[in-house]
Symmetry: C2
DNA sequence: CGAGCTTAATCGATCGATTGAATTCGTCAA
DNA sequence: TTGACGAATTCAATCGATCGATTAAGCTCG
């Protein structure tokens, strides 16, 4: 019995190694032999446990989504529009949402390489989803959109449905782009450890989003 | 002499086919045989003209950047801060920038498949740049950042340098994310032809950005 | 003719998948 | 507790296919 391998069973080790390899080299660039080597397992086990490379990829995606995305979606629902305190609740809900989103996306400060790889893989999949994984993506992203739209609806009841949708895309877009393009952003900024202050970052995205949405409370004093 | 091939020489045809194939299948997924077939050429020409697959990829990227990115960067420079009319010029410059950015990014309505593929390839490269192409990326993106930062500096002289940088990332981020994730966004929205009205989209991103930046003119009337 | 370009053919390497034997594991009879 | 049996798991070895790169001969012009 191998001691270094006792913590996880072979299937789990294959999944974790797959996340690392797929994130680093893409679906075509990563080979099942190297994935198996990273899991200290035999490459034939990919077919045995996952019905081949494609099945392993899908299972790896599923594992990532249930681990990273689902927790954030479990935010408290806001009161329905029109009820007393709905506006304050929606405002707070939107702020919590942005905070949870950024925190979750940035919760991989080198401590867990698998977390970091999971973000890369998720980002790639959102940008150019494989045909087989599009349903998986939609299923796990829908709760986000629902919650966000509900908040926006309360805060800007005057907007039509398309305008609200655009607002949601803008708010999510800034944050996702920040996470996805962190490599380029750090190059452009010239400092590899940006952002140093996560709290300041959350404050920026909250303020920018609330102002962009058109919430008066977030707007600075008008000039004289 | 082949008639169907007279329009471009072999090198150019290989480049265009490479853009299509690399965008569709990624660097590892695309094969030089298929690229050559798409260009009605022999696969050995990849080595002859571009010193191998990697060289072809870099040349394809270079062709994309000089075609899509550089033109947008050629925007009129704004007057220096403090000079009369600087604020109005900066405001207009920012609006022009957003318009030019979106227009260029969306200027591939199925008319030119190479344009569409170029966007996919550029997006992928921004998200996960290959080691060899990072310098190319920085070189072509720097003018954008310079122009945008100059506008922001004039419009919000009270902000420090890091805050201005965050503003720029947010403004660019929404738009880039919109273009990169258009596939998922259309799925979430449920309409494959979104956005129908490009002008309305430009208006949204302009308004959202100006409000997010904290420009009073863009803010709606405060509630009673 | 000679330089630039293009071709078919082939190289060794690596790919994902499969095979059949070897090993480990849970379970139940003795 | 022990031994044995069937199922589940893991293994080394190998399959055909495809990869990028190379070679040497053929072609096209100035």
């Amino acid at each position: 019995m191998n001691l270094t391998v006792l913590l996880h069973d072979t299937r789990t080790r294959l999944l974790e190694s797959a996340i690392l390899q797929f994130a680093a080299k893409g679906f075509d660039g990563a080979g099942i032999r190297e994935i198996a080597k990273g899991a200290k397992a035999n490459s034939a086990l990919v077919t045995y446990h996952f019905c081949g490379k494609e099945g392993l990829y899908l299972e790896a995606l599923k594992a990532i989504f249930t681990r990273k995305v689902s927790p954030v979606a479990a935010l408290a629902s806001i009161p329905p529009a029109g009820s007393p305190g709905a506006r304050e609740a929606a405002l707070q809900g939107l702020q919590d949402y942005i905070r949870a989103f950024i925190t979750e996306l940035m919760s991989c400060d080198g401590t867990d390489p698998i977390d970091e790889a999971a973000m890369v893989l998720m980002a790639r999949e959102m940008q150019a989803p494989r045909k087989a994984s599009a349903p998986l993506l939609l299923e796990h992203l829908a709760p986000y959109v629902t919650h966000l739209t509900a908040c926006l609806q309360v805060l800007r009841p005057d907007l039509d449905e398309e305008a609200l949708f655009n607002m949601g895309v803008s708010i999510q877009g800034q944050i996702i782009h920040f996470r996805n393009s962190l490599g380029i952003i750090r190059l452009l900024r010239g400092s590899p450890d940006y952002p140093q202050d996560l709290e300041k970052l959350i404050q920026h995205y909250t303020d920018f989003s609330l102002r962009g949405l058109g919430v008066p409370e977030a707007f600075p004093q008008p000039r004289p």
